[in-house]
Every structure is written in C-alpha cells, then in structure tokens.
Symmetry: C2
Subunit: 513 residues, 2 copies
C-alpha cells in the first residue's frame, strides 16, 4: 500500500496517498558486447523491466545524450519516468533520491508556490509573490482589456507570469538546495484567465458573452514549451477547469476540502474580486462565479486598504457607547480598514442600528457627520479618542458592501434554489482564500453574505487551492478525482438564470437584525 501524507493546513486535514506520476530508478546495466547487441535505449528499458519498449516515449534530446551518459557512467544511471510512458531524463550515477515537484497557485493578485519532495510528499520550500501581471491591471477584467489591445500585450502578460514562476522556482530551490533540473513535474491551478495566459492562449473571449474557455480538460505541457525553468522535459500539469469564470483553483478547493465525497450538501466560497461559489456533495456539484467587486479587498472604500501594516482586520462597536475596539494586522496604530475590517464594521453598525435594513445611514446618530462631498459618514476611529487619524465608513462604502455581499448572496441563493435545499441542510460552509481566512463568520452572516446557519459548521480553509495543487502533484488518484470533479461540476450562469435580477435586488438589503 502506498504511503499516505496528511496535508494539514489551516482548516484542512487532507490525507493523500503518495502516488506521484514521476518515478526515478537507479539502474546498473550489463555492458554491450558482440554477443549482447541490444541498443542503448532498449537496454535501459530492459533494466527498467519495460520490455514493451514501443510504448515508452523519449525525447530526441534525451536520446541524443543517451549513448554518452551510459558509457561515461559505466552503465550505472538513473532514469526518470513519467506516468510509465515517457522517459524525462537519464543521468549518470544514482540520483534517485532527488525527485521533486512544484505546485503553483496563480491568483489574480498573489502567486503561491510549493516545492515538494515526490518521495515523501513533504513540502520542502514555499515562496510567493505579487502576480507580476498587476502592472497591467489590478483585476481580471483590466487584464483582459490589456490583453485585447494586441498581440504584444497578450504576449507580455504570458511572458511576465512565466518569468515570475521561474523566479519562484529559483527562490525555492535556493532555499532548499534543490537542483531545478530535479523538478520533473509541476501542477498549476488558477482562475481561467490566469490558466489561459500562462498557456499563451488568447483570453479575449473570456471577456465576451458567453464567456467560454478555450479548453477545460486537464493538460500536460512540456516545461520548455512554457519557458518554465525546471527540468526542460518536465511536465506542467494544468488541472481541469469548470468554466470561463470558475477555474482550476475551484477544482483544487473542492478536492482539498473533500466536499465531493460528503453525503450532505456543502457550500464553498472563495471570496475575492471574483467570488467562486460551489455547492455540492458526492452526488452533485454546482458552481458559479459572481463579480463581488473590490470592496472585500479594501478597494473602492474611502478609508479602505489592503491587509497590510495598520489595517483594521476586525472590530467591535459597543452599541451603547459607539466606542470601538479593534485589532490591526500587525498591532500598530490604525491606518484604515481592510476587507474583513469593513465587513466587521458594517455588521457592527447594523447591530448598533447606525444603518437600517436598506443600508441607509441614520442622519442623527452620534459620530455620523456629513463629509466634504456631502455624504454621510460614520466616524469609527476618532482622533478625539487619541488615535492618530480619523477613519470613517461612508454611505457609499455601505453601498459598495451591499453590492458585494448582494452578489455573493445571490449566487448562493440561486445555487441553493437549483438543488432545492435550505440553509439548515448544509453540512459545512468552507471559506477559502486570504479574505476567507480573515473574515469573521459571524459578521458575514450578520450582513447576509452567509446564509442563516450555525456558526459551528463554518470552516476556514485558507489557501485550499494551493493544498489541492499539492495533492494533485503527489497523487495520480487526486488528479483523477479532479477530472471527475471537473466533469461532474455543473456551471450555473447567474446572468442567464430567470430569478437572477429579482434575487439580486432582494439580496442588496441586510437581514432584519
């Protein structure tokens, strides 16, 4: 029985059998003589106990080096075989203990990478970076717009992400002293636009109705075709997608959470500028995507900011005194509100009846003032309390949150209506992604973004997509599961749903408190 690896990360405890597609074998071969005239490749295949030679592929580059490698090593060499069907490399001597894989999670904003031993399944180095494409657009739509300018812009997006990944490879290899040539496989997850751009596929049509991707099935591409600087014959495995706006990151999320094998329905939210929503169990999987906008990332909010130094990530407002208690990301003085802080603030303002169900801010409450632009704002952090600066939540900020949470709520609602279940029937709600990790489930529920469920069923699963990518890297079974998930998953196009508009309008309101 193959060894098992427990990938315990954040809310996930995923057991994965170690069944990598890449295997290395150290071989000692008898030298050819006039009485033993087997050709070099066939001699190698015999030593690999692969008599059915015709079935094993080998690149001309590996083949062209083979005679020299075998003779220089005195017929003691290590062969690297992918999926029992292709020889990726042959090296002199015994290098069989050095066999690695690389898992890549390409977010629109952040790229996270994991260098993994394919012998033990263990992650030996981790690295991440801001997606280098951000210079050409903060969100997917901006980047698609840039790509549509022309061939060279499109090529630039492809080149920058490929270079970025190679840089992360180099970082991980230098941290762990691993030879990049000993990375024989990589798995890639990401949303559909990232997937297409890394492959060099024009993502233009993802921006145009009906938003169909060029391909959805899993792909294996040779590393040197993509200029990813690992072993040139390594395979880059692209996990399958679900649809134009539900990518392989969602497939990896589903894999990592294990919701695909639950008897009861589970709900998964991967919240960001786009939020992917998956509702499913062992019978059925539904997925949709909604444009939840930038509010959850602290953008388009007056005092909003990224989850960095001085950002309020959680807060409580005393309903009686309207005094605030809060925590900033790094414990320093507050400079603004990041996504989870805004959600908390709005939930607390609702609780304190500073805003009504329609999101209208009360005019005559304490600390509510009119800003320079004439709109109402609630002063949540005040210099009068000794803080270095005022931080306010404006009426417009509330509207942004309403639009964002309304979109998510609509998606959830449409999916749940489609399978005809009530919130109380849900077994788990998984919150994935950076924002999902920070957000307060209670606040999310209070503003109506999450349905009326017991808080005990909510699980924060962190970067579940990265965990899924690592599971697919070390296990052929996990890849098969991903294919099953992708085939089974039914994409629901919200815009095409008959109840979409009415549901969305209703979802803009906050639940009665």
């Amino acid at each position: 029985m193959p060894a098992q690896l427990r990938l315990q990360t954040e809310g996930i405890d995923a057991k994965t059998e170690i069944l990598p597609l890449v295997k290395k074998a150290y071989l000692e071969m008898p030298k050819p003589t006039l009485r033993s005239l087997q050709p070099d490749l066939e001699r190698l295949l015999s030593a690999l106990s692969r008599g059915g030679a015709g079935q094993v592929a080998v690149s001309t580059q590996v083949l062209s080096r083979l005679p020299e490698v075998l003779r220089r090593s005195g017929w003691k060499a290590t062969a690297t075989v992918w999926s029992d069907q292709e020889i990726l490399d042959v090296e002199e001597g015994d290098t069989s203990k050095s066999v690695y894989g690389f898992a890549v999670d390409i977010g629109t904003t952040k790229v996270a990478c994991y260098l993994v031993s394919l012998l033990t399944g263990e992650t030996v180095a981790v690295s991440s970076m801001i997606n280098p494409q951000v210079q050409h657009g903060e969100d997917i739509i901006e980047r698609l717009t840039y790509a549509m300018k022309g061939e060279s812009e499109r090529a630039e997006l492809t080149r920058s992400i490929r270079k970025g990944i190679s840089r992360l490879v180099a970082e991980c290899c230098s941290k762990s002293e691993v030879n990049p040539d000993h990375i024989y496989e990589a798995t890639v997850v990401g949303n559909t636009a990232m997937h297409h751009m890394l492959l060099g596929i024009a993502p233009n049509y993802l921006a145009v109705s009906p938003y169909v991707p060029a391909v959805k099935q899993p792909l294996n591409v040779q590393a040197n075709e993509l200029d990813i600087e690992i072993n040139p014959h390594a395979k880059i495995h692209f996990l399958p997608l679900i649809a134009g706006f539900v990518g392989s990151d969602a497939v990896a999320d589903i894999l990592a959470t294990g919701m695909y094998r639950e008897k009861d329905m589970c709900l998964l939210l991967d919240i960001g500028t786009n939020t992917e929503i998956v509702l499913g169990n062992q019978q059925r999987i539904l997925a949709c995507s909604c444009a939840s906008g930038p509010a959850f990332e602290g953008a388009h909010i007056k005092d909003g900011m990224k989850a960095s130094c001085g950002a309020i990530e959680s807060c409580r407002i005393d309903p009686a005194t309207l005094k605030i208690s809060f925590r900033t990301v790094d414990g320093t003085a507050p400079r603004g509100l990041c996504g989870s802080g805004i959600v908390d603030a709005v939930a607390q303002m609702l609780g304190a009846r500073l805003i009504d169900e329609n999101g209208t801010m009360l005019a005559d409450a304490p600390y509510v003032r009119s800003s320079d632009s004439g709109q109402r704002e609630f002063l949540i952090v005040r210099t009068s309390d000794g803080y270095p600066r005022d931080i306010a939540v404006t009426q417009k900020d509330i509207r942004e949150v309403q639009l964002a949470k309304g979109a998510v709520q609509t998606g959830i609602s449409v999916l749940m209506k489609t399978v005809r279940i009530e919130p109380r029937e849900l077994r788990h709600i998984y919150l994935a992604g950076a924002f999902g990790t920070c957000i307060s489930p209670a606040s999310a529920k209070k503003i109506g973004m999450i349905p009326e469920v017991s808080l005990s069923i909510i699980r924060k699963v962190g970067n579940a997509a990265g965990t899924g990518a690592r599971m697919a890297l070390i296990s052929s079974k996990a890849r098969q599961l991903c294919e099953n998930i992708s085939s089974k998953a039914q994409y629901v196009e919200l815009a095409a749903h008959k109840d979409f508009r009415s549901t969305f309008m209703r979802s803009l309101s906050f639940p009665s408190q």
Copy 2:
C-alpha cells in the same frame, strides 16, 4: 473495407491497404451560447465524436490559435488528427481534401523523397539529391570519422541532412502545388548512421565495437524538433532498425518485397559500399552487413566511374576475338566502367579465361599489357578499335572486385549455414538498390557473388526501401509489420562468427568456370 493501393515499382507489386494514421475531418459546430457553454476544444472534440476528451493531446500552439480560428471561420473548421490521439492542426473552412505525407529514403550517397496523397495513396511528386553530407565523407566510415572530430562537426552533419530534406520537400511541393503545411507525416528509412545523424544522436559508437545503435525501436518525432519544413506539428516516423549496420532501409526492403510472408526462404541483397544481406521467410529473418567496399560504386577502380554519362553499364567479351560489345548509361562514347560494368567485365574475363579462379590475370594473352606502374591490365576498350580512349581493367581492379564480392559471398554463406539451407531451396533472390537494378544477375552469379541458383528466381526490386517507406506512410498495418520484422530479425555479427575468416578466404576465389 479500406481501399487498396498497388505500389508497382520495378520488381515489386505491393498491395497496401490505405490506412493512414493522419485523418482530416471537416466539422461544422454549433456556436456557443449562454445555454451551451462547452469550451472550444471540447466542442471540437464533440464534433469529432471524440467524447473521451482526456485522451486526445493537442499542442499549446494549436490550442492558443483555436479560439480565433473557430470564431473567424464561423465554427466551420477542419481538424487534422494523428493516430486518434493528437490534434496536429485546426484550419478555417474545409481543407479535408488536402492531406499529404512524405516518404524519405536516406542513402549514404543519395536521398530520395516521395510526396504522397494520404487520401488516395498516390505519389504526386518525386525528388532526389546527392546526400549533402558527402562533402564530409564519401562513405559511412568517413562520415563517422568526421562526426567524431567534435560537437560542431556532428551538428553540421545533422544540419546538412535536415536542410537537404527540407529542400526536397520544397521541390516536391512546388512541382505538385501542395502546401507544405498540409504534409502531416513523414516516414524515414536509412542506414543506422543516417538515422542517428538525422535525429541528432551522436553516431560515434556505431564506429566502435560492438557497434550498437542508441535505439532500434520506431520513433515518432515532431517535425519542428528536427527543423523539417512541413507542418510544424507533423510527425516524423522513423522506421525501426535491425542493428548498428542494418538500418531501417533493410526493414523497408523486407516489407516491400514481402519476403517476411513467404513460406520458403528468400535472400535479399542491398548492395552498396555496405551491403545488407537478409535471409528469411515467415518463420525467421536473419540479417547481416558486410563492408563490400567502393568497387561496386565504380570507386577505387582505375577506369571506374559513377553510373553517369559515358559509363559502361554492361558488356560482353567475345571469347574468340576478345572484342567487346557494350552499352553506356546514356548511349554516348565510353568514358569508364561503373559498378555493374566492372562486374560484367570481370565475369566476361573469367569466361574468356583471361583470369584464373584465383583472380590472376594471364600474362601472355592478347590486349594484356603492363601498365606504367608495372601491373598487368587488360585493355577492354581500345583506341585502336576507333574508340576515343583506352579503358583497362587492372590486376588491382580484379582484387578489389574479389574483396567486394568475397565479402558479400561470405555474408550469404554464413547466413545460409546458420539456417542450414542450400541455394536450390531459395524461393527468390531480391536485388535492391541502384546497383542491384543495374547488375547482370548472370555475371553476379558467374563471379560467385550470388549463389548457384536458377536465374529465374532473381528479382530486381529497385529502390525497395523507398517503396517500403511509402507503404509505411500510407498504412498503419504496414508499420506494425515493420515492428514485427525489426523484432523478429536476428542480427548476425559476421566478425563474431567462428567460420568467418575461413569462409572469407575461400570466397575470394572465383567459381570454377
């Protein structure tokens, strides 16, 4: 039932079912809509009735163009599929009638190419050239020596043959007005050194005992990997080899002659600087190679020449008058003797008792004189008879022929001893290659190169290797046969055979007349 093609060339009448690996299909697809969200590739595969999408590969280059091609063509496109497992190309509109293959026979001296319709199996253009590698050596050993000088010399040999093939492609395409991008597959046959050099494999070890090749199994390589200018994703199929000195040309010879399915034993000779000898039937196939030297190509012979303008290709000497009658290649005045002319001359001199069984020229016969260098020579064409120049056969020329025919005779003898058969049990003797086409079977038998058989069993089969390459191009069944032939064929290393030296010594003599 698939259509059949009769390839009637020279002594071959080979029926081949038309079962090409490459197929083109014109497809009209429904446009995607919000209610039909199938991705582009999956839509194409559905139209191809290839539901099991996961099994069909497609290059990233084809994939990256796919969204544009499908939309620009209004969802009417032609897909080219190789071996039901890889999409080689997708084009706008209906190009399904334009599907071609290219068969290449790389000889040490000459490269012959055939452009073939994969719909009808017919050859639409033929082209040939002197192997551009000749500038680096006339025969294989010279070229291996050049290759062993260093990396850049080796690369130059590879580059020159690749460029040469691309030139022949261009010639054939221009003759027949075929778009080179519509050539989706090529088959290549040649001796092992040519095979290795085209692939870019160092041929160095072919020159060193025990002369094992790097690989023997059939290979499929993408055209752009070899810089062969046909469709960049086309497959170059290298037919399997037999051994270091018995290449895929011999496999193609065996395929084309059909000897592999004969009940009785047949003998095949592909005569050149190296002569490949195959003895076999449906039960068993034996092959060997012998260095028959350059005499059969008119080299190392005093008045020898290539089979070009003014070369005597056949002759008769009147035993009484010692007058000659002859035919030159192009009917012009005689300038020298090509290979078949030399064999005829020696056979006729034997018949006229101008040389004895040991090959010694009589001293006192008419027209035998001493040359400037002091050795005897027989004046076969004389200015005194009104010819523009004297043409002589020297004692040294006789020795060259003895060495050459002795090598061939030894090979035949060793193979026949191995399977324990007598000449009269042979069903056919096939003479392949340019020299095999010119040679007089009676003369070849007279000098002992061919065993004592009835002349009626001798078949001249011309460029059987080229015919075999074309058969493998149009038929997957023929390729399977080649694999069977290559696996079944037993290579006999003459130098390692216990009787080799004694047999060779005996074979130097001529048969008693």
